[in-house]
Amino acid sequence: MPIIDIQNLQKSYRVYQKKEGLAAAVRGLFHREFKTVNAVRGINLQVQPGEFVAFLGPNGAGKTTTLKLLSGVIYPTSGSATVMGHVPWERSMDYRRRFALVMGQKNQLWWDLPAQESFRLHQQIYCIDKAEFARSMAELVELLDVAELLGRPVRELSLGERMKMELIAALLHSPEVLFLDEPTIGLDVIAQHNIQKFLKYYQQQRKITIMLTSHYMKDVAALCRRVVVIAKGSVQYDGSLDGIIDKFSSSKIITLLLSEGQGSAGLEKYGEVQSVELPRAQIRCSRLQVPATLAKILDTYAIDDVAVEDPPLEEVISSLYESVAEH
């Protein structure tokens, strides 16, 4: 039985259309024009317990709106969803004690107090008993290596340190479902890596269900075996990360290491030349033609080494976004 079950979920907003200029602003005092934005247009998704699912999509695709719906912050326009059997937007206290939402750009901790004070408050509001609290605190603090930061006011922590504290606050009550909205936004590479490592380990140990949105492909590649691409408010792809490349990229990149004295002239006959920096040259050709093209090249040129690779994931994803936007 899926732990998260979303059926034809839709959400549209009405936003005030402000036109440019003072005259329009004055007219706006009397008559306002509203525009309906369909943020989520019929999402269907089932997530099994213990899955780590990534939500990908361009800005404004409906990822955050979907997470807000699943956290019960907003009501849908139509459709249904259940998480652990609860309808999120009923916001029962029981449901609230079983999940957590972390938003990379929102702060849940007390700004002026050390994080440990916020943790104590969480202990109370989430009804975590003393022994359990001490155990999870010790575990999380050790995994994230923040022991010496616990007593420091949150406003004095760096962005990466604060995100670690946010994660502790969200995980103290051992939620069964965790929603992460861009948890690594604005972090440097090392901090991102630390957060990834932690999430991966924690999820494997606890087998909790996590849904993550991120713009960093590294996050997704490191963490999630299942990727759901959302664009224009609906699911465009649901499957493995590698599957995206198989499905949406029809080309491969051939990298050649030319022997000394061998020029690169004429390579454009075999495919689209990506770059030439002798002795290295890269061409792109259709996936189906890779064997034939490679054979011809090897016949014609003196080659020391050769590699055939998929195009970078970022590129595939961005062309996927573009192709969706055109329809």
Partner: protein, 306 residues
């Protein structure tokens, strides 16, 4: 759909979650609720004490207007009867009465004023910080109420001594008899209910932020009205009719005028029970109003924004 099946786990492999579910389903005991309340109170108190310089200065500066008020009323009474200012009366108030009244309203306002409450609620709605109260198992109004109690407790701790000194120095202005036990009891209850009423009144204004993103002009109008109609500026019983009757039935007078009037014996014994009942009524009314506004506001917020 579900292309990945290898990560799907058998539900029975997570006994931890099952245990948790059992733990979470239990109804909160009274002891537990008190534990939550105490923690919110304690953490808010600590937060309040972080900026101790600002806090101490803010607390002590509130005593400064006393001096100007004493001078002001002294000048007013002198002009009323230049020959013998001590015989001057203003609708039943002598000069010492007026100063005593002012000091007592200071005391009641120390309970009923809620600096920053409404604007803080409106800000939380505007920047979406309010989501925290939708996602976490904690009630916004209860939480804000407890942190306000903590703020007040911190304030009284610092302000008690200056208050005592001021009342001691100004003891000669209290010329009437010491009130009897009933009036003292009513005074204490009215000051405490004044806190509750003041809280829910301002909370209701802040919750209007669900409908109007900017509430500062609304708050400005409220502050202006409250300054005059609560009796902070002058005792409202010096107002001419019909304003006086209208103001006497409004809730604002309970924030400043009413406790002082009880203490000074301005509320006739036979009206006391009715007046106290009105205070309880207004307080309950605003509790219910803020609850309704919060519930409706959340509905609107969840429906349109988020």
């Amino acid at each position: 759909m579900n292309a990945v099946t290898d990560t799907q786990l058998n539900e029975t492999s997570i006994p931890d979650a099952v245990l948790n579910a059992v733990r979470r389903d239990r109804v909160l005991t009274m002891g537990h609720r008190v534990g939550i309340w105490w923690t919110i109170f304690r953490v808010s108190l600590e937060e309040r004490l972080v900026y101790r310089g600002d806090f101490a200065l803010g607390t002590l500066m509130r005593f400064l207007p006393i001096i100007t008020q004493i001078f002001l009323w002294s000048a007013v009474f002198e002009s009323l009867n230049p020959a013998d200012p001590s015989k001057a009366r203003m609708v039943g108030y002598s000069f010492p009465d007026m100063v005593a009244y002012y000091l007592l309203t200071m005391l009641s306002r120390a309970f009923s004023s809620m600096p920053g409450l409404a604007s803080n609620i409106a800000r939380q709605i505007r920047d979406g910080e309010i989501k925290k109260f939708l996602v976490q198992p904690v009630d916004l109004l209860g939480y804000l109420f407890l942190s306000r109690v903590a703020h007040k407790v911190a304030y009284y701790t610092v302000a008690t001594i200056p208050f005592a000194i001021v009342f001691y120095l100004c003891r000669d202005y209290f010329v009437g008899e010491w009130p009897d036990a009933t009036r003292i009891a009513c005074f204490i209850v009215s000051v405490l209910l004044g806190f509750v009423l003041g809280f829910f009144l301002e909370a209701a204004l802040g919750l209007a932020g669900f409908w109007f993103l900017e509430v500062s002009s609304l708050l400005f109008v409220y502050m202006l009205l409250s300054f005059f109609l609560s009796g902070h500026m002058f005792p409202i019983d010096i107002l001419p009719e019909p304003f006086q009757t209208i103001v006497q039935y409004m809730p604002l007078k309970y924030l400043a005028y009413f406790p002082a009037a009880i203490f000074l014996g301005k509320v006739p014994e036979e009206h006391l029970a009715f007046e106290m009942a009105m205070l309880v009524g207004w307080t309950l009314g605003f509790i219910v109003l803020s609850r309704i506004l919060y519930a409706r506001g959340l509905k609107r917020y969840s429906g349109y924004g988020g």
